[in-house]
């Protein structure tokens, strides 16, 4: 293959071999598509990372609270009379013995006064004087894994030690949290879907604009007997390369932004997503985004071209 100098190009000499029969590399339409695909990729990456983080969080919470329950001995009895700390401690001891005899229970511990104070201090303030405050008694219960526990019956029997005593399996709280996180996850997936739709529309628009820009050339190929696939292959290839280039640049930028964000979070000690580390599979999914977006663009280009060519006689 001959190598031509810049001077040759100025003189109107073709350089290298042709890539496309249509002048697809002329004009700024390609750059626009690349920038758009880059932005789409960044947005898709954020949506995916948010989804991964929410899934990890949900999993951690579910695992942390599985087979766990709390027995709460309120500081006042059914008649509304405050119990003394000694009375609460005695009831807690009785319940401890009762639960230790239950075959479904693996561990049971009475939480110390200091532990209970540290649990309530975030709501009441660090400077709160706890000596004057009636605190409930709390027992932390761990059930054996795989053993079905009749919590309703257990709570009924616990009420023999005092009517207001409650068994909290965290199920209601967890269910609400799971509903919330799965709604957020759905929103992330919906955003990803919208990004995919925007990619399809952008690719179709870019291809249609190229086709109307080079309608004469397209018609010429058609009149020479070029098969629709011959023409569509060129636009498919062009769209795939443009989308991939734009998307790959977007992915690189996305990784940089995510890295900087994680550094800022660590620096500022923002523990919104404690100890969230991406797994290898999740990382590979993000790396595959440019290919997926390019493939989506290519398929869209093919359909758009074939539909347009079908209108020609």
């Amino acid at each position: 293959m001959k190598i031509f100098s810049k001077k040759d190009r100025r003189l109107g000499v073709a350089h290298g071999t042709r890539k496309y029969d249509l002048p697809l590399e002329k004009g700024n339409g390609g750059s626009f598509l690349k920038i758009l695909m880059g932005l789409m990729t960044i947005l898709a990456m954020f949506a995916f990372v948010a989804s991964f983080a929410l899934s990890a969080m949900t999993e951690r919470w579910s695992a942390g609270l599985a087979n766990q329950a709390t027995v709460e001995i309120p500081a006042e009895n059914a008649a509304g009379v405050l119990l003394s700390q000694e009375e609460i401690n005695k009831t807690a001891q009785d319940i401890l013995v009762f639960l230790q005899q239950n075959s479904a229970v693996e561990t049971v511990t009475i939480m110390s006064e200091e532990e209970i104070q540290s649990l309530v201090s975030p709501w009441l303030g660090e400077d709160m004087e706890f000596n004057d405050l009636p605190l409930p008694g709390i027992l932390s219960v761990g059930f054996k894994e795989g053993v079905a526990v009749d919590t309703k019956n257990l709570e009924k029997r616990l009420k023999n030690f005092g009517e207001p005593i409650r068994l909290d399996t965290h199920a209601t709280w967890l269910a609400n949290v799971l509903k919330f996180t799965s709604a957020l996850n759905m929103a992330a997936m919906l955003i990803t879907g919208l990004i995919g739709l925007a990619t399809v529309i952008a690719a179709a628009g870019a291809v249609q604009s190229r086709m109307s820009m080079y309608r004469d050339e397209l018609e010429l190929l058609h009149l020479m007997g070029a098969a629709d696939r011959y023409i569509s292959r060129q636009l498919q290839r062009y769209t795939f390369i443009s989308c991939f280039q734009g998307s790959a640049m977007g992915a690189c930028l996305g990784f940089i932004i995510l890295f900087i964000t994680s550094l800022i979070f660590k620096e500022k000690e923002i523990a919104l997503l404690p100890n969230f580390n991406m797994s290898l599979t999740e990382f590979l999914i993000l790396c595959a985004l440019p290919v997926l977006i390019a493939l989506l663009g290519m398929i869209t280009a093919r359909q758009t071209v074939l539909r347009t060519l079908a209108k020609m006689p």
Binding site: K2, F4, L11, G12, V13, A14, T17, R18, D21, P23, E25, K26, D216, E217, E219, L220, L221, H222, L223, M224, G225, A226, A227, D228, Y230, A310, P313
Partner: protein
Amino acid sequence: MIKFEHVGLRYGVGPEILTDVNFTLEPGTFHFLSGPSGAGKTSLLSLLYLGRKPTRGLMKMFGEDIGQLNRHELKLMRQRIGVVFQDFRLLNHMSAFDNIALPLRIMGQEEKEIRENVEELMEWVGLGEHQHMLPNTLSGGQQQRIAVARAVITRPKLLLADEPTGNLDDEIGLRLMNLFDQLNRMGTTVVIASHNTMLMEKFGQHSKLILDKGQARLEKSEPKSTLKQRIGDMF
């Protein structure tokens, strides 16, 4: 081979450009297509190169009824037709070589064969030195030769040319007519739309397809002399 029976053509809801066209062109014949401006020459050519479908009538090419062909068969039919457009319709982003090679690439020919064929033809039409030039940097005559070379590179069964010698000097014009004649002798049917009465006189052995008021009539001329003699007469 090419048969038009009561063919009509209109654009959209406008009046009929071609009202009742009837003619038969035998395989391997040579015809000039003439007629006054606005008679419908370009429209008739567009029907012949299958750029349009007639709005009525029967149109047969290579023994096939065009109206009955599917999309794929129409593509194959188009590959058997070479066209020289009046405005050349060259692709200015690719070299003269690639423009001429385009129909062969569309047909899926091997690159080695393409190179041999295109280089030989480019030498023949006097563009051997301009293989890598972009068409818009060449003269009108050179562009026209690229357009002609692109039309004949596949050795089409039907060659259509719209004013093919319009921008050429006499010598190059005659060389091209000689090329058309050679193709015709090899079995290609040639239809040339032209206003050039001198050219038609010089090659008066060929019949004329005259279009007037949307209708066509075929005037067959008796051969007076051989083409070689006629070319000789011009110098």
